[in-house]
Symmetry: C2
Subunit: 415 residues, 2 copies
Amino acid sequence: MKTIIELGESAKAAERILATTTTQQRNDALKAIANVLVEDCDEIVKANSLDLKYGRENGLSEALLDRLKLDEKRIHGIAKSVLDVIKLPDPLGRVLSEKQLDNGLKIKKVSVPVGVIAVIFEARPNVTADSAALCIKSGNAVILRGGKEAINSNKAIVASMRRALAEASLPEDCIGLVEDTTRDSARGLMCLNGYVDVLIPRGGKGLIESVVKNATVPVIETGAGTCHTYVDKCADTDMAAEIILNAKAQRPSVCNACECMLIHKDIADEALPKIAEKLIAANVEIRGDEKVCTLVKEAKKACEDDWGKEYNDYIIAARVVEDIDEAIEYIYRHGTMHSECIVTGNKTTAEYFLNNVDAAAVYVNASTRFTDGGEFGLGAEIGISTQKLHARGPIGLNELTSMKYLIYGEGQIRG
Amino acid sequence: MKTIIELGESAKAAERILATTTTQQRNDALKAIANVLVEDCDEIVKANSLDLKYGRENGLSEALLDRLKLDEKRIHGIAKSVLDVIKLPDPLGRVLSEKQLDNGLKIKKVSVPVGVIAVIFEARPNVTADSAALCIKSGNAVILRGGKEAINSNKAIVASMRRALAEASLPEDCIGLVEDTTRDSARGLMCLNGYVDVLIPRGGKGLIESVVKNATVPVIETGAGTCHTYVDKCADTDMAAEIILNAKAQRPSVCNACECMLIHKDIADEALPKIAEKLIAANVEIRGDEKVCTLVKEAKKACEDDWGKEYNDYIIAARVVEDIDEAIEYIYRHGTMHSECIVTGNKTTAEYFLNNVDAAAVYVNASTRFTDGGEFGLGAEIGISTQKLHARGPIGLNELTSMKYLIYGEGQIRG
């Protein structure tokens, strides 16, 4: 088993070769990966069944076991996702700016790979292949560190992918796996300065916080999403009800789901019962402030912990606010700068909300569930950045690149 | 004296107001700052004389005392730099992409301020006003933490700038100063998550390393520059000599100065004596490997420490290499990904170097001294990023912005 530093060294060496490959070479490697995953389907399912067995023995919930499970259909799905990445435009070699200075120097800014990307993730083994495909396409080597629950599946998937890289004449170390799933290995990866150019954590709040606290390598924070929908006094209340229902209940476990609705006091009497009816019919529990509980008899009284909470469940917090400024202030205090929405028919109010709410995605009259690389037309994504540097919102292929300046001279010196 | 957290809170509150100001409002504030700095010239010089007195008592070198010194002429220069920032285009509100999806959603990606920028710097008080001006222009609040050597100067300059902000009807907390110059205050700032959106260290290697190791807030690494010039076998040796002389000796103390030259073995006999003659005439000491010492009798024998060293002085390391691959490998091992140059008349060789050297700026036939926001036409810069995320190379106004997605719907929900 390689040490973390050995993994870093071999990824760095592989990345230097990968960085200068053509689009065709990288796409060929992705094709080989998709093929080999399908070829190796039986072995992968077999390895996965070990993880499922240990998972059951260790009392993993049915929901987690389901996320962990791989069968032929899912592996074909994973292979298909890898093939989809081939169709996306090459993010490398884009000319980001170009100019000629008065002294004759030509300066070109072009996109290049970031280098070595480390991904720490939890139980879902599909993340292994998805992340690797996006990294290879963007010319980056990747070091994967999954959870112990999926270690056998991850080993099998990575072994297949590395074999495919070799078949496609690329260094197999373009994809590395941390086989040690102790906390030490995660900490080691977080501090692998000089080898890891960026670390992307994919997982729950605990993981993200640990990475932010402990990492000395650059990090792109992802994930945590406490999203709000504000229903303005000029809202179409039927539209508001549809949007909130969708944002909450279409898939409550994800980061772009709505966790709290804020209703303008002037429209609360009309809007709240209408919204509540739809939510309750979809088995959503409402936890409201006093006014909400007065208007919706099924609502439970919210406690302090409910404000700013990411439920990831069929629960929504609800509050009546005095005006848009109170809504914005509340979002500032309790949001995670992920996705925020206003429902309003008033354009000026909409612009005010767009300008004053600081989040990766700010919506007028649409469900926050659209914050997604696929939906935004970026193709696949490796996560949703909730930080403000480098990438914000869905992290697609372009966000996995850096840049460099190329300067062409004829002997120019500085005076 | 405000605590670090209080500074963070007040900067955050100020930033929210600053973020929604118009170009005119921010430019007016810069004008006010320039005016007040000139008005307050006497007080600033007086405060600075205290720093100079303590500096002399504490044995600061003449070079450092000179960097610390402010007089009327220098303060007018600082004010002029602030006025120059007014002329630069507003980096906020740029539409970075725009599209309409099939479902009718309109998605616009626009540039917004990063938020609160912390700058930790050392003895030069001009950095105080320069950094503040760039931050204000780009809609960011700034928390400045300078060295203890300049604390009286910094207090005076910041007091003037805050008064100017108030005169221009902007919150004075858009510019904050950490008055506590102990190590604790720097550490506090490095871990001010939730308040500081990015920390930019400006200073020597020790400062940068401390920030990378200790910061939990996002960081843009700057500065350290061990730059190389490779003279290819197809080089014009006169051009090579001029470029290396300029890159080394025009201003040796800066990060884009050349610290090491690598000479192809086939051209060493002709090139090295020619280059050495110019360098020696400019009082540059050459520390070479064996071959260099054979060809240049004035060269000293380099020791292991000389390879990869940032001298910031009239000293240059020199090596003869077998071929371009050895040069690239050497740069990979010893460079800091700042600025690297090849001198060659062969276009294919030039492209090979450009593609295979990973640095913020890669040059063909020009002095590395051009890596600079002003020279690149970005206007002023707050530093040179040597990391690969967010900003690489000169950090100008655009690099001090983040982005957000604005999404305009008519009730769209996700299916």
